[in-house]
């Protein structure tokens, strides 16, 4: 091969590589190695994840860390850094978007909303967002992210179900028994667990809620003496807002135990047991949970045991 030919080949290859890299960076739809629709994604600590550019035509690019991804639906959970001055003019998305402010202040419409404020925008619901000093937001997308600039909502949008920004402290604190029922076992009377229901979709049963528990094993922190393992008929997703929690997961390779610290994350497909002897918190735990359609907890005594009704949830 002549030197001219070699040089040409090199230029061609380098250009192709460069172009493919650019295309790769812009194509945030690329499949992930861990698909939450088929396997457990857990013990995720966003601190060790790489930032990626979130490129949505019509919007300023932001950085995000991907916590989980569903290859079948395009749904994903992202931790997004909104830079100072970032704005989303009124517009809507093709899929449902839920959002919680983790750091900073986001203007939802004209309402400045601080940490742990929550919003739910059904597909097609026009809304505007902005931040003056920057913010970190947790975003739960029900499908592939997109943005359509529009002053009005798309026809047929379920506008009545939208939650266009609510402050954490404006959401009533209640006991777990006040949530839509999701297990046969009663919650302890006088339970130390506190919950805030952010959203309940009456049609699908999907819920988003915050749970605060004191430290200790479940028997000390409000779950009484239930069997050690629980599994759900629907998916469960959790992001640890504050505190710590160690938890076991009953995975195909066996029991896996790990610790969640603030911003720790999991997505647990239906049917995977969790809990175990190791479940405990050294301090306290404040989780924001999402539970999918059909969420119903059953309890059993071992990792591999099939689901069976528990004997009761009250401490002796």
């Amino acid at each position: 091969m002549s030197s001219r030919t070699r040089l040409g080949s090199c230029v061609l290859m380098c250009s192709a590589l460069l172009l493919s890299t650019v295309a790769f960076a812009q194509d945030w739809k690329r499949p992930e190695s861990r698909d939450r629709s088929s396997e457990f994604v857990g013990f995720v600590q966003p601190g060790v994840l790489y930032e990626r550019p979130l490129v949505l035509p019509g919007l300023q690019t932001t950085d995000y860390k991907q916590l989980s991804f569903d290859d079948k639906t395009g749904a994903r959970t992202l931790l997004v850094e909104l830079p100072p001055g970032w704005k989303q003019p009124s517009g809507y998305h093709s899929s449902d978007l839920e959002m919680m402010v983790v750091e900073g202040i986001v203007n939802m419409g004209d309402k400045p909303m601080g940490r742990y404020s929550y919003a739910y925008y059904p597909a097609g619901y026009a809304h505007s967002l902005s931040t003056e000093k920057g913010a970190t937001v947790l975003q739960w997308w029900a499908g592939a992210p997109d943005y359509v600039r529009s002053a009005t909502s798309r026809a047929g949008t379920k506008t009545a179900s939208a939650i266009d920004g609510v402050l954490y402290n404006d959401i009533p604190t209640t006991v777990p028994g006040a949530l839509p029922k999701f297990r046969d076992e009663p919650f302890m009377e006088n339970s130390p667990i506190h919950v805030k229901l952010l959203r309940h979709d009456a049609d699908s049963g999907q819920m988003t809620w915050v749970m605060s528990v004191p430290g200790g094993p479940p028997a000390m922190s409000g779950e009484g003496h239930l069997p050690l393992w629980a599994s759900s008929a629907g998916w469960m997703e959790g992001f640890l807002i504050a505190g710590d929690m160690t938890m076991g997961e009953c995975l195909p390779q066996g029991q896996v135990v790990g610790r969640y610290d603030p911003n720790g994350y999991f997505f647990r497909p239906a049917g995977i047991s969790h809990g175990g002897l190791s479940q405990s918190s050294d301090t306290f735990a404040v989780w924001v949970f999402r539970t999918g359609p059909g969420h119903w907890l059953t309890y059993h005594n071992s990792c591999a045991e099939p689901s069976a009704p528990a004997s009761g949830g009250r401490a002796p």
Partner: protein, 358 residues
């Protein structure tokens, strides 16, 4: 420099102007009437005694570092104990202290001449012998009323205790109770890790309108004769901005008829509380291992109270001289009370808190 008498005259004039302005602009006394429901505790409010004068002043130590160890010796007590003195009653000799028990320390069977309460922060302590012995470890508690005999007290690896003695300590070696000792009030072998936290019963209702949703408790002792209480509490919070709802104190200040004595064995971040002290409203910072004694009737809370902007939790050990009770006022003048009703917070004349409408 101005002559002194000019300065004095100027000061007097300024004071007169300010006083006149205060008269003109101050809100005229307005009667709000009594509360809709009696806000007083379900027992007579003590006017004197331990609950009122155990420590007459507000006492606080941000942590234990500023306190030095000293020998803790008392008549009849085996030597070797050390302590960090947290507070002391000059009239009664009662003390609150961190006590260090050295490894191998042994005290023979007997009783204390004053009530003795211990809460183990670290290490081990056994009380008595054999199968019936109390085996105290981290966050164990034991209450030994004056004159109630106990078996020998030992520590194998040493221990650090939070200890309260309700008078000048004195130990008497004995194999029987002192006559008239309140054996029915004894609490033994309590441990934090045996059960969950709770909000309500067996923790008493401590205010009109229901106990706080966010404050969790474990009741260690409610004295069957005096109502004195010792309990643990657990609180956690995340730094969410305030919403439109008023907080647990209705935006005002909480007042207890009894002293309230706190120690934080665990606190992950600092909290500031506004305290209505003699020198005026004072922000006081509380953190890990903070101790404080707040005399009865001192309001606390208000807009000065705040977190440090981080998420955190706290475990506290608390004592009161009566069954816990709380009322609420708008400010440190204690003139306007606020009561929690089904329709929200409502103002009333605080002096009439036990004379409800109708």
């Amino acid at each position: 420099m101005k002559p002194l008498h000019w300065t004095l005259a100027g000061g007097a004039l300024l004071a007169a102007v300010l006083a006149a302005a205060a008269m003109i602009f101050s809100e005229p006394a307005q009667s709000r009437g009594p509360p809709t429901v009696d806000q007083g505790p379900p027992y007579p409010v003590p006017k004197g005694g331990y609950e009122a004068e155990g420590r007459p002043e507000f006492v606080t130590h941000y942590n234990l570092d500023s306190l030095t160890w000293e020998a803790f010796d008392a008549p009849g007590m085996p030597t070797g104990l050390q302590r960090k003195l947290l507070s002391q009653s000059t009239s009664m000799g009662a003390v609150s202290q961190i006590t260090h028990v050295p490894a191998g320390w042994i005290q023979p069977a007997g009783y204390d001449e004053v009530d003795n309460e211990i809460f183990v922060l670290e290490g081990d302590l056994s009380i008595g012998d054999g199968a019936d012995a109390e085996k105290l470890t981290k966050y164990s508690y034991s209450y030994m009323p004056a004159g109630v005999m106990r078996g020998p007290v030992k520590s194998r690896q040493g221990a650090v205790l939070m200890q309260w003695l309700k008078g000048e300590p004195k130990f008497v070696a004995s194999n029987r109770d002192r006559e008239g000792a309140r054996t029915h009030a004894r609490v033994r072998d309590w441990n934090n890790y045996k059960g969950p936290w709770y909000i309500d019963k067996p923790f008493p209702d401590y205010r009109i309108g229901g106990n706080f949703k966010g404050a969790l408790h474990k009741l260690l002792r409610e004295d069957p004769d005096t109502g004195e209480m010792t309990w643990m509490s657990f609180n956690s919070g995340i730094p969410a901005p305030p919403g439109g709802r008023l907080g647990n104190f209705g935006g005002g200040y909480e007042v207890h008829p009894s002293f309230e004595e706190y120690f934080f064995p665990e606190k992950s971040n600092d909290t500031v509380i506004g305290e209505c002290l003699k020198q005026g409203l004072t922000p006081v910072t509380y953190g890990n291992n903070t101790y404080w004694w707040r005399p009865g009737g001192v309001g606390h809370g208000g807009p000065l109270s705040r977190g440090d902007g981080t998420a955190g939790y706290a475990i506290s050990i608390v004592r009161t001289g009566t069954t816990l009770w709380a009322t609420y006022v708008t400010d440190c003048t204690y003139k306007i009370g606020i009561e929690l009703t089904a329709d929200g917070w409502r103002e009333y004349d605080y002096d009439l808190r036990q004379q409800p409408q109708g």
